[in-house]
Protein backbone atom coordinates (compact mmCIF):
# COMPACT_ATOMS: atom_id res chain seq x y z
CA UNK A 1 0.00 0.00 0.00
CA UNK A 2 1.34 3.41 -0.87
CA UNK A 3 1.96 6.02 1.77
CA UNK A 4 -0.49 8.74 2.55
CA UNK A 5 -0.65 11.42 -0.08
CA UNK A 6 1.41 9.40 -2.49
CA UNK A 7 -0.04 9.14 -5.95
CA UNK A 8 -1.36 5.66 -6.39
CA UNK A 9 -2.81 4.43 -9.60
CA UNK A 10 -4.04 1.06 -10.65
CA UNK A 11 -3.77 -0.62 -14.01
CA UNK A 12 -7.50 -1.21 -14.00
CA UNK A 13 -10.19 1.19 -12.83
CA UNK A 14 -12.08 -0.04 -9.80
CA UNK A 15 -15.45 0.00 -11.52
CA UNK A 16 -14.07 -2.45 -14.05
CA UNK A 17 -13.14 -4.87 -11.26
CA UNK A 18 -16.70 -4.80 -9.97
CA UNK A 19 -18.42 -4.68 -13.34
CA UNK A 20 -19.65 -1.19 -12.53
CA UNK A 21 -21.37 -2.23 -9.32
CA UNK A 22 -20.89 -0.39 -6.05
CA UNK A 23 -22.74 -2.80 -3.78
CA UNK A 24 -22.16 -6.51 -3.23
CA UNK A 25 -24.88 -9.00 -4.10
CA UNK A 26 -25.04 -9.84 -0.39
CA UNK A 27 -25.70 -7.29 2.30
CA UNK A 28 -24.40 -9.48 5.11
CA UNK A 29 -20.78 -9.31 4.04
CA UNK A 30 -18.69 -7.12 6.30
CA UNK A 31 -15.01 -6.26 6.68
CA UNK A 32 -14.63 -8.86 9.45
CA UNK A 33 -16.52 -11.59 7.58
CA UNK A 34 -14.43 -14.78 7.51
CA UNK A 35 -13.86 -16.24 4.09
CA UNK A 36 -12.60 -19.63 3.06
CA UNK A 37 -12.53 -21.38 -0.29
CA UNK A 38 -14.93 -24.28 -0.68
CA UNK A 39 -13.50 -27.58 -1.62
CA UNK A 40 -15.44 -27.99 -4.81
CA UNK A 41 -12.64 -29.17 -7.06
CA UNK A 42 -14.27 -27.07 -9.75
CA UNK A 43 -12.16 -24.67 -11.76
CA UNK A 44 -13.09 -21.04 -12.03
CA UNK A 45 -14.54 -20.27 -15.45
CA UNK A 46 -12.06 -18.96 -17.97
CA UNK A 47 -13.91 -15.66 -17.86
CA UNK A 48 -13.00 -15.17 -14.18
CA UNK A 49 -11.10 -11.98 -13.43
CA UNK A 50 -7.59 -11.90 -12.02
CA UNK A 51 -9.02 -10.43 -8.80
CA UNK A 52 -11.39 -13.39 -8.45
CA UNK A 53 -8.51 -15.78 -9.01
CA UNK A 54 -6.25 -14.01 -6.52
CA UNK A 55 -8.97 -13.83 -3.88
CA UNK A 56 -9.84 -17.49 -4.21
CA UNK A 57 -6.18 -18.54 -4.07
CA UNK A 58 -5.69 -16.41 -0.95
CA UNK A 59 -8.71 -17.94 0.74
CA UNK A 60 -7.43 -21.50 0.62
CA UNK A 61 -7.01 -20.82 4.29
CA UNK A 62 -9.13 -18.71 6.58
CA UNK A 63 -8.98 -14.90 6.28
CA UNK A 64 -11.28 -11.99 6.88
CA UNK A 65 -12.51 -9.86 3.99
CA UNK A 66 -10.58 -6.83 5.20
CA UNK A 67 -7.33 -8.77 5.29
CA UNK A 68 -7.82 -10.00 1.75
CA UNK A 69 -8.40 -6.38 0.72
CA UNK A 70 -5.03 -5.39 2.16
CA UNK A 71 -3.25 -8.13 0.27
CA UNK A 72 -5.14 -7.48 -2.96
CA UNK A 73 -4.43 -3.76 -2.56
CA UNK A 74 -8.05 -2.93 -3.29
CA UNK A 75 -10.66 -1.05 -1.25
CA UNK A 76 -12.75 -3.26 1.06
CA UNK A 77 -15.94 -2.33 -0.77
CA UNK A 78 -14.52 -3.53 -4.09
CA UNK A 79 -13.35 -6.84 -2.65
CA UNK A 80 -16.76 -7.35 -1.03
CA UNK A 81 -18.34 -7.26 -4.51
CA UNK A 82 -15.82 -9.75 -5.87
CA UNK A 83 -16.18 -12.01 -2.80
CA UNK A 84 -19.98 -11.96 -3.00
CA UNK A 85 -19.85 -13.14 -6.59
CA UNK A 86 -17.58 -16.04 -5.62
CA UNK A 87 -19.88 -16.94 -2.71
CA UNK A 88 -22.92 -16.87 -5.01
CA UNK A 89 -21.09 -19.14 -7.44
CA UNK A 90 -20.18 -21.56 -4.64
CA UNK A 91 -16.41 -21.14 -4.80
CA UNK A 92 -16.11 -19.21 -1.56
CA UNK A 93 -17.92 -19.68 1.75
CA UNK A 94 -18.56 -17.47 4.75
CA UNK A 95 -17.28 -19.27 7.82
CA UNK A 96 -19.75 -19.73 10.64
CA UNK A 97 -22.89 -18.88 8.75
CA UNK A 98 -25.29 -20.79 6.63
CA UNK A 99 -26.01 -17.66 4.62
CA UNK A 100 -27.09 -16.15 7.90
CA UNK A 101 -25.86 -12.77 9.10
CA UNK A 102 -22.15 -13.31 9.41
CA UNK A 103 -20.14 -13.51 12.56
CA UNK A 104 -22.61 -14.46 15.23
CA UNK A 105 -24.57 -11.25 15.17
CA UNK A 106 -28.26 -11.24 15.86
CA UNK A 107 -30.73 -8.94 14.27
CA UNK A 108 -33.22 -7.07 16.34
CA UNK A 109 -35.28 -6.36 13.27
CA UNK A 110 -34.99 -8.72 10.32
CA UNK A 111 -33.93 -6.88 7.21
CA UNK A 112 -32.51 -3.97 9.16
CA UNK A 113 -28.81 -4.61 8.83
CA UNK A 114 -27.91 -1.45 10.74
CA UNK A 115 -29.33 -2.79 13.98
CA UNK A 116 -27.25 -5.97 14.01
CA UNK A 117 -25.36 -6.33 17.28
CA UNK A 118 -23.44 -9.21 18.79
CA UNK A 119 -25.60 -11.17 21.22
CA UNK A 120 -24.92 -11.49 24.94
CA UNK A 121 -23.18 -14.81 24.62
CA UNK A 122 -20.73 -13.41 22.09
CA UNK A 123 -20.06 -10.29 24.17
CA UNK A 124 -19.37 -12.45 27.21
CA UNK A 125 -16.95 -14.51 25.15
CA UNK A 126 -15.17 -11.33 24.00
CA UNK A 127 -14.95 -10.13 27.60
CA UNK A 128 -13.58 -13.45 28.84
CA UNK A 129 -11.06 -13.55 26.00
CA UNK A 130 -9.81 -10.00 26.65
CA UNK A 131 -9.44 -10.68 30.36
CA UNK A 132 -7.27 -13.69 29.66
CA UNK A 133 -4.79 -11.68 27.59
CA UNK A 134 -1.54 -11.23 29.44
Amino acid sequence: MSGQGEYHDRPVRLYVVTGGRVRPSRNTIRPETLLVATDTGRQLPVSASSEERSLLRMCRRLLSLVETAVHLELPVSVVSVVASDLIDAGFLAVRGSGDEPACGATRADPGDVESARPDRKLLQEVLDGLRKLG
Binding site: M1, Q4, L14, V22, R30, P31, E32, T33, L34, S54, M58, R61, L62, L63, S64, V66, E67, A69, V70, H71, L72, L74, P75, V76, S77, V78, R95, G96, P101, A102, C103, G104, A105, V113, E114, S115, A116, R117, P118, D119, R120, L122, L123, Q124, E125, V126, L127, D128, G129, L130, R131, K132, L133
Partner: protein, 199 residues
Protein backbone atom coordinates in the same frame (compact mmCIF):
# COMPACT_ATOMS: atom_id res chain seq x y z
CA UNK B 1 0.62 -9.35 -4.50
CA UNK B 2 2.54 -9.74 -1.26
CA UNK B 3 1.29 -13.01 0.07
CA UNK B 4 3.96 -15.60 -0.45
CA UNK B 5 4.65 -18.12 2.30
CA UNK B 6 3.08 -16.02 4.99
CA UNK B 7 1.20 -18.64 6.92
CA UNK B 8 1.07 -16.64 10.10
CA UNK B 9 -1.07 -14.06 8.37
CA UNK B 10 -3.85 -16.59 8.26
CA UNK B 11 -6.30 -17.23 11.05
CA UNK B 12 -6.23 -20.53 12.92
CA UNK B 13 -8.45 -23.00 11.10
CA UNK B 14 -10.45 -23.50 14.31
CA UNK B 15 -11.88 -19.95 14.21
CA UNK B 16 -15.63 -20.03 13.65
CA UNK B 17 -16.67 -16.46 14.33
CA UNK B 18 -15.44 -12.90 14.20
CA UNK B 19 -16.57 -9.67 15.76
CA UNK B 20 -15.23 -6.14 15.91
CA UNK B 21 -14.72 -3.04 17.98
CA UNK B 22 -14.29 0.40 16.43
CA UNK B 23 -11.56 2.66 17.76
CA UNK B 24 -12.62 6.18 16.87
CA UNK B 25 -11.04 9.55 17.42
CA UNK B 26 -9.59 12.54 15.68
CA UNK B 27 -6.37 12.48 13.69
CA UNK B 28 -3.22 11.92 15.75
CA UNK B 29 -5.01 10.86 18.91
CA UNK B 30 -3.31 7.45 18.96
CA UNK B 31 -5.86 5.11 17.37
CA UNK B 32 -3.27 3.13 15.45
CA UNK B 33 -0.95 3.06 18.49
CA UNK B 34 -3.69 1.54 20.62
CA UNK B 35 -4.65 -0.96 17.92
CA UNK B 36 -0.99 -1.88 17.47
CA UNK B 37 -0.35 -2.47 21.15
CA UNK B 38 -3.42 -4.68 21.54
CA UNK B 39 -3.20 -6.50 18.19
CA UNK B 40 -1.45 -9.80 17.54
CA UNK B 41 -0.56 -8.61 14.04
CA UNK B 42 1.18 -5.43 12.97
CA UNK B 43 -1.68 -3.04 12.17
CA UNK B 44 -2.63 -3.24 8.53
CA UNK B 45 -3.82 -0.36 6.42
CA UNK B 46 -6.56 -0.66 3.90
CA UNK B 47 -8.92 1.61 2.07
CA UNK B 48 -12.64 1.97 2.28
CA UNK B 49 -14.67 3.84 -0.29
CA UNK B 50 -17.11 6.46 0.83
CA UNK B 51 -19.51 8.77 -0.89
CA UNK B 52 -19.03 12.42 -0.09
CA UNK B 53 -20.63 15.63 -1.23
CA UNK B 54 -18.37 17.09 -3.86
CA UNK B 55 -17.14 20.56 -3.14
CA UNK B 56 -15.37 23.06 -5.34
CA UNK B 57 -16.21 21.09 -8.42
CA UNK B 58 -18.24 22.49 -11.28
CA UNK B 59 -21.09 20.06 -11.39
CA UNK B 60 -23.40 19.66 -14.31
CA UNK B 61 -26.54 21.28 -12.97
CA UNK B 62 -26.99 18.91 -10.03
CA UNK B 63 -26.35 15.80 -12.03
CA UNK B 64 -23.46 14.94 -9.79
CA UNK B 65 -23.45 16.31 -6.30
CA UNK B 66 -21.66 13.37 -4.79
CA UNK B 67 -18.39 11.68 -5.47
CA UNK B 68 -16.63 8.62 -4.19
CA UNK B 69 -13.41 8.90 -2.28
CA UNK B 70 -11.26 6.47 -0.39
CA UNK B 71 -10.32 6.68 3.26
CA UNK B 72 -7.35 4.93 4.80
CA UNK B 73 -8.31 2.65 7.67
CA UNK B 74 -5.97 0.83 10.04
CA UNK B 75 -6.97 -2.35 11.76
CA UNK B 76 -5.63 -5.08 14.02
CA UNK B 77 -6.72 -8.48 15.17
CA UNK B 78 -6.83 -10.49 18.40
CA UNK B 79 -7.60 -14.21 18.44
CA UNK B 80 -9.54 -14.35 21.71
CA UNK B 81 -9.97 -18.10 21.88
CA UNK B 82 -9.59 -20.96 19.39
CA UNK B 83 -12.95 -20.19 17.80
CA UNK B 84 -13.29 -16.40 18.08
CA UNK B 85 -11.36 -13.53 16.55
CA UNK B 86 -11.78 -9.83 17.34
CA UNK B 87 -10.96 -7.09 14.83
CA UNK B 88 -10.13 -3.56 15.89
CA UNK B 89 -10.90 -0.92 13.26
CA UNK B 90 -9.46 2.56 13.56
CA UNK B 91 -12.00 5.02 12.24
CA UNK B 92 -11.51 8.75 11.75
CA UNK B 93 -13.93 10.72 13.88
CA UNK B 94 -14.38 13.92 11.93
CA UNK B 95 -17.78 14.76 10.58
CA UNK B 96 -16.80 14.24 6.96
CA UNK B 97 -16.09 10.58 7.65
CA UNK B 98 -19.38 9.74 9.29
CA UNK B 99 -20.71 7.96 6.22
CA UNK B 100 -17.90 5.49 6.62
CA UNK B 101 -19.23 4.52 10.02
CA UNK B 102 -22.47 3.19 8.64
CA UNK B 103 -20.71 0.27 7.06
CA UNK B 104 -18.34 -0.28 9.93
CA UNK B 105 -20.70 0.08 12.88
CA UNK B 106 -22.91 -2.66 11.51
CA UNK B 107 -22.28 -5.71 13.69
CA UNK B 108 -19.79 -3.97 15.98
CA UNK B 109 -19.68 -4.85 19.67
CA UNK B 110 -19.05 -1.19 20.43
CA UNK B 111 -16.84 1.83 19.89
CA UNK B 112 -13.90 2.98 21.97
CA UNK B 113 -13.55 6.76 21.67
CA UNK B 114 -9.94 7.76 22.10
CA UNK B 115 -9.41 11.27 23.42
CA UNK B 116 -6.43 13.59 23.79
CA UNK B 117 -7.01 16.06 26.63
CA UNK B 118 -4.71 18.59 24.96
CA UNK B 119 -7.18 18.80 22.10
CA UNK B 120 -10.49 18.09 23.69
CA UNK B 121 -12.48 20.05 21.12
CA UNK B 122 -11.66 17.40 18.52
CA UNK B 123 -13.64 14.90 20.57
CA UNK B 124 -17.00 16.62 20.54
CA UNK B 125 -17.82 15.76 16.94
CA UNK B 126 -17.16 12.09 17.61
CA UNK B 127 -19.26 12.01 20.77
CA UNK B 128 -22.07 13.92 19.06
CA UNK B 129 -22.16 11.38 16.30
CA UNK B 130 -22.25 8.42 18.68
CA UNK B 131 -25.03 9.97 20.72
CA UNK B 132 -27.05 10.80 17.60
CA UNK B 133 -26.74 7.39 15.99
CA UNK B 134 -30.04 5.59 15.93
CA UNK B 135 -28.50 2.14 16.23
CA UNK B 136 -27.33 2.65 19.82
CA UNK B 137 -23.75 1.58 19.30
CA UNK B 138 -22.39 1.25 22.86
CA UNK B 139 -19.32 3.37 23.44
CA UNK B 140 -16.75 4.05 26.13
CA UNK B 141 -14.22 6.86 26.36
CA UNK B 142 -10.50 6.17 26.74
CA UNK B 143 -8.30 9.15 27.54
CA UNK B 144 -4.90 8.64 25.97
CA UNK B 145 -2.56 10.20 28.52
CA UNK B 146 0.39 11.78 26.77
CA UNK B 147 3.53 12.67 28.76
CA UNK B 148 2.76 16.38 28.49
CA UNK B 149 -0.97 16.03 29.11
CA UNK B 150 -2.31 18.01 32.03
CA UNK B 151 -3.57 15.87 34.84
CA UNK B 152 -7.33 15.66 34.94
CA UNK B 153 -9.54 13.39 36.95
CA UNK B 154 -12.01 11.29 35.05
CA UNK B 155 -14.77 13.17 36.89
CA UNK B 156 -13.50 16.47 35.48
CA UNK B 157 -13.27 15.00 32.00
CA UNK B 158 -16.71 13.45 32.26
CA UNK B 159 -18.09 16.88 32.98
CA UNK B 160 -16.03 18.61 30.27
CA UNK B 161 -17.20 16.07 27.69
CA UNK B 162 -20.77 16.12 28.99
CA UNK B 163 -20.92 12.33 29.16
CA UNK B 164 -23.90 10.41 30.43
CA UNK B 165 -23.38 9.02 33.96
CA UNK B 166 -23.30 5.44 32.68
CA UNK B 167 -20.74 6.00 29.89
CA UNK B 168 -17.44 4.47 31.03
CA UNK B 169 -14.37 6.69 30.96
CA UNK B 170 -10.89 5.30 31.57
CA UNK B 171 -7.36 6.70 31.44
CA UNK B 172 -4.99 4.75 29.24
CA UNK B 173 -1.56 4.68 27.70
CA UNK B 174 -2.14 3.55 24.13
CA UNK B 175 1.48 2.36 23.86
CA UNK B 176 0.95 -0.15 26.64
CA UNK B 177 -0.72 -3.44 25.79
CA UNK B 178 -2.26 -4.05 29.20
CA UNK B 179 -3.60 -0.54 29.31
CA UNK B 180 -5.10 -0.75 25.82
CA UNK B 181 -6.68 -4.13 26.56
CA UNK B 182 -8.10 -2.75 29.82
CA UNK B 183 -9.83 0.01 27.85
CA UNK B 184 -11.33 -2.62 25.52
CA UNK B 185 -12.47 -4.60 28.58
CA UNK B 186 -14.20 -1.52 30.01
CA UNK B 187 -16.06 -1.05 26.73
CA UNK B 188 -17.06 -4.70 26.36
CA UNK B 189 -18.26 -4.97 29.95
CA UNK B 190 -20.37 -1.87 29.37
CA UNK B 191 -21.77 -3.21 26.08
CA UNK B 192 -22.82 -6.35 27.90
CA UNK B 193 -24.51 -4.39 30.67
CA UNK B 194 -26.19 -2.09 28.17
CA UNK B 195 -27.60 -5.05 26.31
CA UNK B 196 -28.84 -6.75 29.46
CA UNK B 197 -30.53 -3.51 30.45
CA UNK B 198 -32.36 -3.23 27.15
CA UNK B 199 -33.75 -6.76 27.08
Amino acid sequence: MVFANSDKRYLPGTVRRSTKILVVGSFGVGKTTLIGSASEIVPLRTEETMTVASMGVDDLAGLQDKMTTTVAMDFGRITLNPSLVLYLFGTPGQRRFWDLWDGLADGAAGALVLIDTRRLEGSFEVLDQLELRKDDLPFAVAVNVFPDSRQHTTAELRQALDLLPETPIVLCDARDRRSSVDALIALTAYALTAQEGSV
